[in-house]
Symmetry: D2
Subunit: 337 residues, 4 copies
C-alpha cells in the first residue's frame, strides 16, 4: 500500500514528497527497498516519529498496522496537520466496534469523532473540509460501490444481502516483520482459498456505510477469498430486491447515482466487469443484473485493491481535501494487461 | 476434460483403453496432441463414429460439446454399451429444461429417462445398476457437496441460498475449434471476472439436486467466476439456517452425512479449505461455519474442476458401475503444490 | 503493443491522438476493444487507409504485422509524414536479410535506406533528424543494452556470445485474427518453453547492431523462451572477455557508457535485476558480473517488452524526433508489483 | 521436496512409510502440515533423531538443508542403513569443493568416498550396489541430461559451454524457518530474475559430471533464474561443436544414447520441449538443434524440479538400489495442465 502511494505521489503535480518512515528500514534509501524507484527519489526512510512528520509535512498519509495509527494521529492533529489514514483505525464510528472486532479499545476518541469515512462517492462534502480522513478498506470500497445505488434508493431488502470478495495478494498486508506462509508464492499460486469465514473485520465497515445509506441497520454475510493475482479485487453481491425490477431499470438507477463521478464506470449491457480493466488506476467498474427467478439483483464491481481499494483513493481524498480537481495525479489509464 | 480422463485411465488397473475419437485430430497419434503422453500410448485418434465405439469398447466416456452426446448415445445404448457422459446432455431430468436453458429440445427422451445423475455421494445405489450415467457439471458438483448435509437434514431455509463459484481456466470448455479470446493467457492472467450473471446453465442442475434432497423446490442465486489458475474450483455458499446452530453442531452434521465417503473430507476447526489441497485428485474438501449475526451458514468446498468436478468423478462412477472398489485408479494423492 | 501505445499517448502532454485504425475492428469504439480505456477516449477504429492517416496525423505509429508496414509507409512518406514503425520492416539495413529471415523481398527500398534504428542509446543523433524510425524488437532491445558497453569498448571477444531471452506472453504477437493455441492460458500458464531454436528473426537484428558497435561482424547464439507472465523481458548474455576484468571494472565501464541516459539504470553490487522493477515503464535495468573461471562476463538486463522493448521506447523516439525532453509522457514510475 | 517424496512414497507399491521427521513440526500430524494428505496417513512428525530413523527404517531419504545431512549420515551408515540424500552433501567427489563452494569443510569423509552420484542415466550400475546415493541437484539434472550425449561422444568442444537454467519456485528451498521475501507471491509473481550470477553452487556439480563424461576438465558458464511457476525446470545449453553436424545427426546421437531409458524422451523434429509435458512425473524431455551459423548446438531439457530434478529421481534411485523395475511407483503420467 505504501509502495503504491509512493508511485502515485512521486508524479503528482501538486505534491512534494518530503519524507517516508519505517522503523524496520530506517536509514535505507527508498530505492533499495523499492527497486522500481531507482533513480526516482533520493529520500531515505526515517524512524517513525510523529513529531518529525509534523515538522516536514503539511499532510501525512499513514499506512501503519491497525491499532498503530491511533497512537501517532493525536500528535499530528495537535500540530494542526491533516492526515489520511490507510489503516482501519478511524473507519468505524462506534468506538465499541473496535473492542468487538479488533479486540482492543480505541485510544483516540477525539480523533475518531472527527474522522470522515473517505469514500468520495458517498462523503465528498465532508471530506472537503475534513482534517482526518479514514480511507476505506479494500473489500468495503468494492462492496459499497457495488450496492450503494440500490440501497440508497430503497430498492434493496436489507436482510439477506450476501457479499463475496476476491482479492489479489497485495491486499494481504505487510511484507515486513513476520511473513505468513500463506503468502508464499508456492502457497498462493494455483490456489483459491476463503478466510475469515463469518468473522472478517471489514464486515462492520460495510454494514456501517450501507446502513447509513439505507437509514436502517444492515447485516451482511461476507466472505473474502485470496486469489492468485498481484492486484485486483472483485466483489459479487447478491441483493434481494424490494420490488421487481429489470436489468435496464437497475442500470438506469446506477447511471443516475454515479453521474458525474470521475472514477466510477457503469458498464453497458453485455460488458463484463473484470479486474484487468482497472488495474493500476483509481477506477471502479460496476455492473448490475436482475435475477427475476430469485427476486434478487447481482451487483458486481472491479477495483484495484491498491487503487480504489487503497492508495489511489487516498490520493483522490487528498485532492478533495485540497480543493484540487479530483483527477489530479490520477489520470493515467489502467495498465492493461 | 478428455486429457485428464486419459491420464487417469492409462494407469487404471482394471481398464484397457481401446480407442479415442476426435474428428479434428483424426489419424493423429494421441501423444502429438498431448505431449505429456509421449511414450505412454500408441493410440491414434479415430473419427467420432458411434458404431466403431460400440465395437471396440464395453464402456464409453463421452466428452463432447453439449447437445452432441444425445446424438451418439442412442447408438451405444442400442448395442448394449454402458456410457458415462461428461456433457450436460443427461443431467436434467425435465426435458423441458433443455429448451429453457440450452435453447433446443432434447432428442433422446428414452436415454434421458434412464440416465442417473452421477454424484456417488447422493446416488450411489442407482449408479451401481445404471447403464447411462450423467456426470455432474463442475460447479454443481462443488455446490451440491458443500450444502447437501444442511439441505437433506432440513436445516436450510430454501429461499435465499446464494452460491458463488470460482473456477480455473481448464473449466472453460474446449480448446479445439474456435478459441474465445477470453481464454488467452494475457486476458485470463492477473484477472478475475464474473460471467453468466443470473443465467448460467449449471443453475437448474443445482436446483434439481438440492430440491430432490430437500423434497421441495429450491431456487439459488448462482454466479460463476473465471480465476487465473489452471485447475481448481472453489464454492462459497451462504445458506439461511432454519434454526440457530453453532459451528460445532453444523460440523457434526457434515461428518455424519459424509461418514464413509472415500473422497469427501470434512475439515476440522481452523483448517482452511483450499483448492491446492485437492488438485489432481477426486477429493472434495468441505467446511461449514455458522454466522449467527445473519442466521446463515457459510458452506465452502474445494475440488479440482477436472477431478471431482469432472473426469476423476467419472472414473469413480465407472468403479461404482463395475462393482470395483471406488478408489481403484484414484488413490494417488493430490499434487501439491 | 498498440494498446500500450494508446495508454501512453492518451496522457502524453504534447500529443493529441487523432485516429486509430484496425480493419478487423473498424467502426467499433476504442473502449469496446480495450475496456480499460472506457471513458478515456471517444475514438472509433477506422479502416487502415494510409491516405486517411496522412490526412489526420502529423506523426504515425505503425503496429502492423511484419511485411505490412512496408506497404503503408511509402504513402505516408510521400505526404511528408513522420513515422515510427513498431514492426520489423525497417530494422535491418541489408534488404537481403529480409529474404533470408522473412522469406520475402522488401518492397520499399527507399524507405529502408532512410530508416534509422530507433534505439536512442545508440542512435540518438540520427533519430533526432529522422523521418522514419524503426523501433527495435523486444529481444534485441534487451540484448543490445545488456552488452553494448562491452562490445563498444572492445572488451568482448566476438565469437562465443550466447544470449538467452525470456519474454512474457504480451511479447507474443497479435491477438486478433487466428490465435495460436500456444498462447491460451492453460498452455502458457505453469509452463516454460523455448521456441525458434537457432532460427529466431531477432537474431540478425542483434548482430547488425552489435556488429556496428564492434566495427566487425558478430554472430550470436540466441534462444528465446516464453515465460508465464504478462509483461517483462529478461536477457542473460554470456560474453567472452577480450582480457581479464573484474566485476567492479566492468560496472565502471557500464556506468560511464550509460551516464546521462534517462532510461538505463546500472545496478549496484548486490542489486538483483528483475523485470518487476521496470514493468509499465521505459526503464532498462542492467547488471554485469565477471566470471573469471570461464573468462566471461554475465550481462543481464530487465525491460518491459511493451516498454523499452516496444511502445514506450517508441514514445521516447517520438520525443527525440520532436525535440522534446525525452522523459515527456514517460515519467510515471514502474508499476510494482 | 519432502512433500513430493511423501506423495510418491505413500502409493509406491513396494514401500511402507514408517516415519517422518521434522524438528520444527515434531508431534504434529503429517496431514496438518500438508493438507493435501488429509486422510492418507496417520503418521506424525518425529524429532530428527538419526538413531530413531535407523530403528524404524531400512532405507532413509534425507531432505535436510545442506551441511546437515553429513551429520546424520554416519549414524545411519553405522547401523547399516541405506540412504538417499536429497541435499548437496554427497554430490561432489572432491571434499575441497565443499570448502570452496559451501564455505565449510565436509565432516564425513568416509561417506563422501562411498557416495554414488544418483543419476541413473549415467551411473546405473554403481547405484545398484550403492548404500549411499547422492541425488543430483535440480539444475545439474536438467543440464547434464541435456548435454550428456554430445559430451560423451566427443562432439562438444569443452570451452565455451553456456548453460541457462529457469526454475519454478518450489526449487527455491525450505519454507520452514526464515522465509526469504524473494519467495513471497507478490515478489515472485509476474517477475523473472537471475540470481547467483557466476557463483551458483550447482556449477561444480555440472562440471564434475560433464568432466567425467568427457574425460577432461569442463568449465561452464551457468546462470540460474527464478520463474513464476510452481514446478518446472527448463535448461538451455549452448554447446560449441567439435565438428559440423546437422540437427538430424545430433538427434540420432541422442536417440542412441538414451535408447532404453525409461524416463528420458528425445523429441522429434518440430516438437517443442515444455515443462508442462513433464510436471508431476520423473520424465526428462530433451531436444537438440544445430546452429551452423555459430558452429554450436542448442541443447534443451524440461524436467519437473521436484521430479527428475528431485524426489521422483530419488525414487528411481531407490528402485535401482532395490532391484525393482525402475518405473515402480513412477508410472503415473505427467499432470497436464
Amino acid at each position: 500500500m505504501g509502495a503504491e502511494l509512493l508511485r502515485l505521489l512521486l508524479v503528482h503535480p501538486r505534491i512534494t514528497l518530503t519524507g517516508v518512515t519505517s522503523d524496520r528500514l530506517s536509514g535505507e534509501p527508498l530505492a533499495r527497498a523499492y527497486p522500481h524507484l531507482r533513480g526516482l527519489s533520493d529520500l531515505r526512510f526515517h524512524d517513525l516519529e510523529a513529531a518529525w512528520l509534523a515538522e516536514v509535512a503539511d499532510v501525512v498519509f499513514l499506512a501503519l498496522p491497525h491499532m498503530e495509527s491511533q497512537k501517532v494521529m493525536p500528535v499530528l492533529r495537535a500540530r494542526g496537520k491533516k492526515a489520511i489514514d490507510l489503516s482501519a483505525d478511524y473507519r468505524l464510528r462506534d468506538a465499541q466496534d473496535y473492542v468487538t472486532w479488533y479486540k482492543a479499545p480505541h485510544v483516540d476518541a477525539a480523533g475518531l469523532r472527527e474522522a470522515v469515512y473517505g469514500l468520495p462517492e458517498l462523503h465528498r462534502k465532508a471530506i472537503a473540509t475534513a482534517s482526518l480522513v479514514a480511507n476505506p478498506g479494500c473489500y468495503p470500497a468494492g462492496a459499497i460501490l457495488a450496492m450503494a445505488p440500490l440501497v440508497k434508493r430503497g430498492l434493496a431488502r436489507l436482510d439477506g444481502i450476501v457479499i463475496d470478495g476476491k482479492s489479489g495478494v497485495t491486499g494481504a498486508g505487510a511484507q515486513g516483520r513476520t511473513i505468513d506462509p500463506m503468502y508464499l508464492y508456492t502457497e498462493a499460486n494455483e490456489n483459491v482459498q476463503a478466510y475469515g469465514l463469518a468473522s472478517h473485520r471489514h464486515t462492520p465497515e460495510m454494514e456501517q456505510e450501507l446502513g447509513a445509506l439505507a437509514g436502517a441497520p444492515v447485516r451482511v454475510s461476507f466472505t473474502p477469498h485470496l486469489i492468485p493475482l498481484n492486484r485486483g479485487l472483485f466483489t459479487t453481491a447478491s441483493v434481494p430486491l424490494a420490488r421487481p425490477l429489470g436489468t435496464p431499470e437497475l442500470r438506469d438507477v446506477y447511471r443516475e447515482f454515479y453521474a458525474g463521478e470521475p472514477f466510477v464506470r457503469v458498464l453497458d449491457e453485455g460488458e463484463r466487469p473484470a479486474t484487468r480493466a482497472v488495474v493500476g488506476s483509481n477506477y471502479c467498474d460496476v455492473a448490475v443484473v436482475a435475477d427475476p427467478r430469485t427476486a434478487r439483483a447481482v451487483c458486481v464491481s472491479a477495483i484495484d485493491n491498491l487503487g480504489k481499494g487503497g492508495s489511489a483513493n487516498g490520493v483522490q481524498n487528498l485532492n478533495v481535501m485540497s480543493g484540487w480537481p479530483e483527477r489530479t495525479g490520477l489520470d493515467a489509464p489502467p495498465v492493461y494487461p
